[in-house]
């Protein structure tokens, strides 16, 4: 061993103050997975914040097109919001069912979550299709561009979430409540709840503030 120098004392922390609590070692897999997924969610929120920023910059740029208050329909948005908030609840039920290894409640919770997610997507799709049909598509003005991309980005996330949800159900069906599948379920639940949080922001910034003007 190429060790040529010896220091007088074992060189630990040379300028340490106070008591050291020893780090216990690598965290268990469940913690690591959840932690990593949290970090991913934070990065996803950063991405959303860019679209929020773009919306904030562009929402006044209507280019003689419609303003927000002219195109938003409160009733639809209210139904969407209720669907999504309820789906968070049912998703939570499914998570608990998964933790207690209860297949029936797991499938039920996931199926209802899926249905609510699909209702949300259907309403959103109809809103978009309606706007495009009236000539208020995203290329009409910078405001509509920002609106469609922000809300659409959330919609895409929900769509991906529904796909993931179905895959989770299939995994439980085929493989049962295995440790790795439970970890994935935990990530899915985090994802679904995060979409809810983002929707609350979309709802407030776009629809509530937008209709007020």
């Amino acid at each position: 061993m190429a060790m040529t120098e010896t220091v007088g004392r074992a060189h630990a922390d040379p300028h340490h103050i106070g008591l050291v609590i020893e780090h216990p070692g690598p965290a268990p897999k469940r913690i690591v997975t959840a932690y990593g997924f949290w970090v991913f969610l934070l990065s996803d929120i950063v991405m959303f914040s860019c679209f929020f920023a773009a919306y904030a910059v562009l929402h006044g740029q209507t280019a003689d097109g419609p303003k927000g208050s002219e195109i938003f329909e409160q009733r639809n948005v209210a139904i969407e919001t209720v669907c999504l908030l309820l789906s968070s609840f049912t998703c939570g039920m499914a998570s608990i069912a998964a933790d207690t290894r209860n297949r029936f409640w797991f499938y039920l919770g996931m199926a209802v979550t899926c249905a609510l997610g699909l209702i949300f997507l259907a309403i959103e799709f109809r809103e978009f299709a309606d706007l495009v049909a009236r000539g208020y598509g995203p290329s009409r003005s910078a405001f509509l561009t920002a609106f469609f991309s922000l809300v659409g980005c959330h919609g895409l996330h929900v769509s991906a979430g529904v796909l993931w949800l179905l895959t989770m159900m299939a995994q439980v069906f085929a493989k049962g409540f295995r440790a790795d599948i439970l970890r994935r379920m935990m990530c899915f639940a985090l994802f679904w709840h995060a979409l809810d949080i983002i929707w609350v922001a979309v709802f407030s910034v776009v629809y509530l503030l937008g209709s007020a003007v």
Partner: protein, 666 residues
């Protein structure tokens, strides 16, 4: 059927890209043919392509970076020659070609050289320094690498099929909008960055989680080696900044593909928003690159001075300060937009504040050397070269952070010289130092010192001969990205810079020669100790190259400089501890997921660029199928039996003990 793609996409009328493309193609086919004929393909597939081992993935990252360095470097050579000859003439490159070259040069050097190089080194070393067996998400790690490789592949495909962006490496709208850049160049640019950006984000999440959640016993935060700290800071920046890039490029793509109006001139789009968004990513990006380099220098300076790092806590503080402040300075990239004096002044001062922790780092390295016993191995040469060069780059950087000075220097050759000064002098020197320093760890033999030192001196001198003239040209009013010019005063400087480029090229050749010579003499250069430099952190506590499980036991850390501490304790105890009891080790199973994902990403990216919609759908379905197949896997781990672990570990201990007793006999 094939969207916008037809035979006219291939530039038969332009010999330079065609020949370059043909040469690359022949080289790739040659290597492939050699691999197949020699029967290495199964080995490559089993041990490298599907590998989820962080060390293998790290090596592949560095390999990718090195290959792309040659590509980006040849772009640089072409640009320097063009500017040397294009005085009162068109030179040898028409504008549409020259403009592609400088755009590709910037894109490649940042995204496909600097990024994979530092990410590769972090991947290779950080788990070893933390004393753990792998990163947090090994399969995702492989996905991240292969997606980065996909991006690099697409950029290179643009050489022969279609064109690359002619807009500069940040593709500012409205120039990058469909109306002013109707070709596929910007699409190549945006999609390759989107795909590789996902890969980078994955790597970032992975490394943040690894540093925060996977550390061996006793590895408290304030005992982590400096490189782990800078890795943490850099990857936090990746996680926070890369989504901004993704969003910004997504907006640009929506503008181009679906007629949205984020950054258009028409319908209320806002060009200035692009500038803000892209630099909100772009400025942290520079620190993403340079912070790991700072970490490498910290390791190198401390090891080769034979001392612990001076002012370790100060260094940690400085690193995290840079991490935070780097998000508050983006506006200094466009002081000349007319934002008003208060805004300019505040961002100018914020930019200067970053210089404080950076300066502190320099001084701490300085005092690490003070009272040391400095061995000038190649990595240390790079470190000292870096310190001198980086200070000059820092000076010019603070200079352009002063708004009134920037009003004269913005976008000039002075600026070009400045950022090359910090990126070459900081990131590239750091990458080379890390390469030389950790090569023995990765491959089990040292690199030839003579060629290494030659490479350093040529690169070091070549850098100054190339870039000092660009500072001078900038002071003479020369702006960047000029395909030709008529100003006589600039000419001599361009000629000197071209000569400097030749010296730099010799440096690169020395680097390649070093690799060739070292591989040939690998037996003589073999590192049997696992600790060729008398290192101080845990990566040197295992063999070179490390076994797949890195450590038979999670090492017990009792202080800073964990391995140095162990060595001292071992010496005091004369290595006389009992042989421990070994246990089975679970390791993640190799998986082709990453490669298959990247395959479908390539198909999707190419199809999107050329508007081949059925192929886009095909690629998307393939990617989803891969995801499901991966989720369906029954065994994601395999077991290395205790007996095997014992055999490997004992052989290693035996070898070290022999060397120690030999040294004792002498």
């Amino acid at each position: 059927m094939l969207g916008k793609l037809d035979w006219s996409a291939i530039p038969f009328d332009q010999p330079i890209p065609l020949i370059a493309g043909a040469v690359v193609l022949v080289a790739i086919l040659g290597v492939l043919a050699w691999v197949v004929v020699k029967g290495h393909l199964p080995y490559l597939w089993r041990e490298w392509i599907t590998s989820v081992d962080h060390k293998r993935i790290g090596v592949m990252y560095v390999l990718l970076a090195s290959v792309m360095l040659l590509r980006g470097g040849s772009d640089a050579i072409m640009m320097r020659i063009q500017q040397a000859v294009a005085y009162q003439s068109q030179g040898y490159l028409p504008p549409e070609h020259y403009n592609q070259i400088f755009s590709a040069h910037g894109t490649i050097m940042i995204f496909f050289v600097a990024m994979p190089f530092v990410i590769g080194l972090m991947n290779l070393i950080v788990p070893l320094q933390l004393g753990v067996r792998d990163v947090a998400f090994p399969t995702l790690n492989s996905v991240g690498f292969w997606l980065t490789a996909t991006g690099a592949l697409l950029v290179n495909v643009s050489l022969v099929v279609g064109e690359f962006a002619r807009t500069g490496w940040l593709a500012f709208p409205p120039l990058s909008q469909l109306s002013y850049s109707p070709g596929v160049g910007v699409d190549y640019y945006a999609w390759s960055l989107q795909i590789s950006g996902v890969g980078t984000l994955v790597a970032g999440i992975n490394l943040v989680t690894t540093v925060l959640k996977l550390r061996t016993r006793g590895m408290n935060y304030l005992r982590m080696p400096m490189f782990c700290w800078t890795t943490l800071a850099s990857n936090l920046l990746i996680v926070a900044a890369f989504p901004i890039l993704t969003a910004t490029l997504a907006m640009l793509l929506l503008d181009r593909y679906l007629g949205f109006h984020f950054f258009t001139n028409e319908a209320g789009g806002n060009v200035m928003m692009f500038m803000n968004l892209i630099w909100a990513w772009g400025h942290p990006e520079v620190y993403i690159l340079v912070l790991p380099a700072f970490g490498i220098f910290s390791e190198v300076v401390s090891t080769f001075s034979g001392k612990a790092l001076f002012g370790y806590r100060s260094m940690v503080l400085a690193t995290m300060a840079i991490c935070v402040i780097s998000f508050m300075v983006w506006l200094h990239h466009f002081f000349t937009m007319g934002a008003g004096p208060n805004v300019n002044a505040i961002f100018g001062i914020a930019s200067m504040i970053i210089a404080v922790p950076t300066g502190v780092k320099i001084y701490n390295w300085l005092f690490t050397m003070y009272g040391g016993r400095i061995r000038f191995a190649t990595p240390m040469l790079w470190a000292v070269g870096f310190m001198v060069t980086f200070i000059i780059g820092g000076l010019t950087g603070v200079l352009v952070a002063v708004p009134p000075a920037d009003f004269m220097l913005h976008n000039s050759m002075f600026l070009v010289a400045h950022f090359h000064n910090v990126i070459i002098g900081g990131v590239l020197f750091g990458a080379f130092a890390g390469f030389e320093y950790w090569f023995p760890k990765a491959f089990g033999f040292r690199l030839d010192e003579r060629w290494g030192k030659a490479a350093f001196w040529f690169t070091f001198l070549g850098f100054y001969v190339t870039f000092i003239p660009l500072y001078a040209a900038g002071m003479l009013g020369m702006t960047r990205r000029l395909q030709h010019y008529d100003v006589a005063a600039w000419r001599p400087w361009m000629l000197v810079a071209a000569a400097g480029m030749a010296v730099l090229t010799i440096g690169v050749i020395c680097q390649i020669m070093q690799l060739v010579v070292s591989i040939r003499n690998r037996e003589a250069l073999r590192d049997r100790t696992g600790d060729p430099w008398d290192g101080r952190s845990l990566e040197w506590a295992t063999s070179s190259p490390p076994p797949v499980f890195n450590f038979a036991f999670h090492p017990d850390v009792r202080g800073e400089d964990a391995y140095w501490d162990m060595k001292i304790r071992a010496q005091q105890q004369l290595l006389g501890h009992d042989l421990p009891e070994y246990h089975d080790i679970d390791m993640p199973r190799n998986s082709p997921t990453g490669f298959v994902c990247a395959f479908f990403a390539t198909i999707m990216g190419f199809a999107l660029i050329w508007h081949i919609w059925w192929m886009v759908i095909l690629g998307g379905l393939g990617a989803f199928a891969t995801f499901v197949a991966f989720a369906w896997r029954d065994h994601d781990e395999y077991v290395i039996p205790a007996a095997e672990v014992a055999r490997i570990d004992r052989a290693n201990i035996e070898e070290r003990r022999n060397l120690v007793s030999m040294a004792g006999a002498v």
